[in-house]
């Protein structure tokens, strides 16, 4: 049926069939319920693109992540309920000044499932491949209503005690918007450390969001890791600051 098509409908409201309008109202209510549940699961923090940085921790652990910059904020809380699996509730907010007009905005809350497909451990390195999929509700500032949002994505990362490389890709699909976010990261640790020492890293991220970013954003980050805590402080190529925090506990 046409009313279940997730693409933006071009048919004016009076011409829509009553059954389709009812179905839309039901979907909208379901979206709000899903979003409300996801919101209740959150610690009330802001959102994180770094939330995608470690989608699955160790079995029976919880993880909280938050990321703040001038035009984006994210937050999430997750639980790894078994080896290589985690469930995560997230909130995402993007804003931009589009063509000098009224600022545009995207807001998404969702619940998603993360799975670590691959982990390859060698004496000197670790390779991971993750996939993720979820549902939630989202809103584009150009429209006042909330829509169901489907999101899916993946991540591959490789790390040694001194080098780090990663690719992250996500798709966000709703009636009112359709974006793909891609990020490539590379980093180097200044020196090796023991388990009980803070490890400093320098990381460079290149990120672009389709139908949203006017250009690829470059961000230089200082990363500090100490046991359960992960902190990143950085600035992008427009001089805008960004901060990320992740914490894992059991």
């Amino acid at each position: 049926m046409r009313c279940f098509n997730v693409r933006l409908l071009a048919v004016p409201t009076p011409a829509r069939r009553p059954a389709c309008a009812r179905a839309r109202r039901v979907r909208s209510r379901l979206s709000r319920l899903l979003g409300l549940w996801a919101l209740l699961a959150l610690p009330g923090l802001l959102a994180a693109s770094a939330a995608r940085a470690m989608p699955v921790a160790f079995t029976d652990s919880f993880m909280a992540m938050t990321d703040v910059s001038e035009h984006a904020s994210e937050a999430s809380v997750g639980y790894s309920f078994r080896r290589a699996w985690a469930v995560q509730a997230g909130y995402l907010n993007w804003t931009r000044d589009h063509l000098g007009r009224h600022p545009q905005r995207r807001e998404i809350t969702d619940l998603h499932l993360n799975h670590r497909l691959v982990r390859r451990n060698t004496p000197t390195s670790q390779l991971n491949v993750y996939v993720q999929a979820g549902l939630g509700h989202g809103r584009a500032s150009e429209r006042s209503q909330w829509d169901t949002v489907a999101q899916w994505g993946g991540q591959i990362d490789w790390e040694t005690t001194r080098l780090y490389a990663a690719y992250k890709g996500h798709r966000y699909l709703a009636d009112s918007f359709n974006h793909s976010a891609h990020a490539v990261l590379g980093g180097v640790s200044l020196y090796e450390v023991d388990y009980d020492q803070v490890q400093p890293w320098v990381v460079l991220e290149a990120k672009r969001i389709s139908k949203w970013s006017e250009r690829t954003e470059l961000t230089l980050l200082a990363r500090f890791i100490y046991r359960s805590a992960f902190v990143e402080l950085g600035v992008n190529d427009h001089g805008q600051p960004r901060a990320t925090l992740m914490y894992i506990w059991m």
Binding site: D60, N121, T124, E159, D194, S228, M250
Partner: protein
């Protein structure tokens, strides 16, 4: 008289043995994939959920994990390997040594 002394000595022997401090026992393992403390802290946390764990030492540089067991208690190898797997790591080899986690740490740092 001699018989009495011998009987007393035999009776006291087990008590003397119990009074001797037991040497610490640890499982020392070579582990693959430990590249940062943020990832490897799951090892410490998983091992500490075992009731027989006294203390844990994770050595990133030497790719070693040492789990000291409480006196008189034991962690079998299968359980150890399972917990390492749950933490996301692969055990290359594991051995039981008569050292504490702190002694192993001091040895590794020499």
């Amino acid at each position: 008289m001699k018989r009495t002394l011998l009987t007393l000595a035999l009776a006291a022997a087990p008590l003397l043995a119990l009074a001797q401090p037991q040497a610490p026992q640890s499982l020392k393992a070579e582990v693959n994939g430990m590249v940062c403390s943020f990832c490897a802290q799951g090892i410490e946390k998983r091992m500490k959920t075992l009731s027989a764990t006294q203390s844990v030492w994770v050595d990133l540089k030497n790719k070693t994990v040492a789990v000291e067991m409480k006196p008189g208690q034991r962690i079998d190898e299968a359980t150890f390997r399972h917990e390492m797997k749950e933490a996301g790591y692969d055990v290359v080899r594991v051995e039981q040594v008569a050292l504490s986690a702190a002694q192993i740490r001091a040895q590794q740092r020499k």
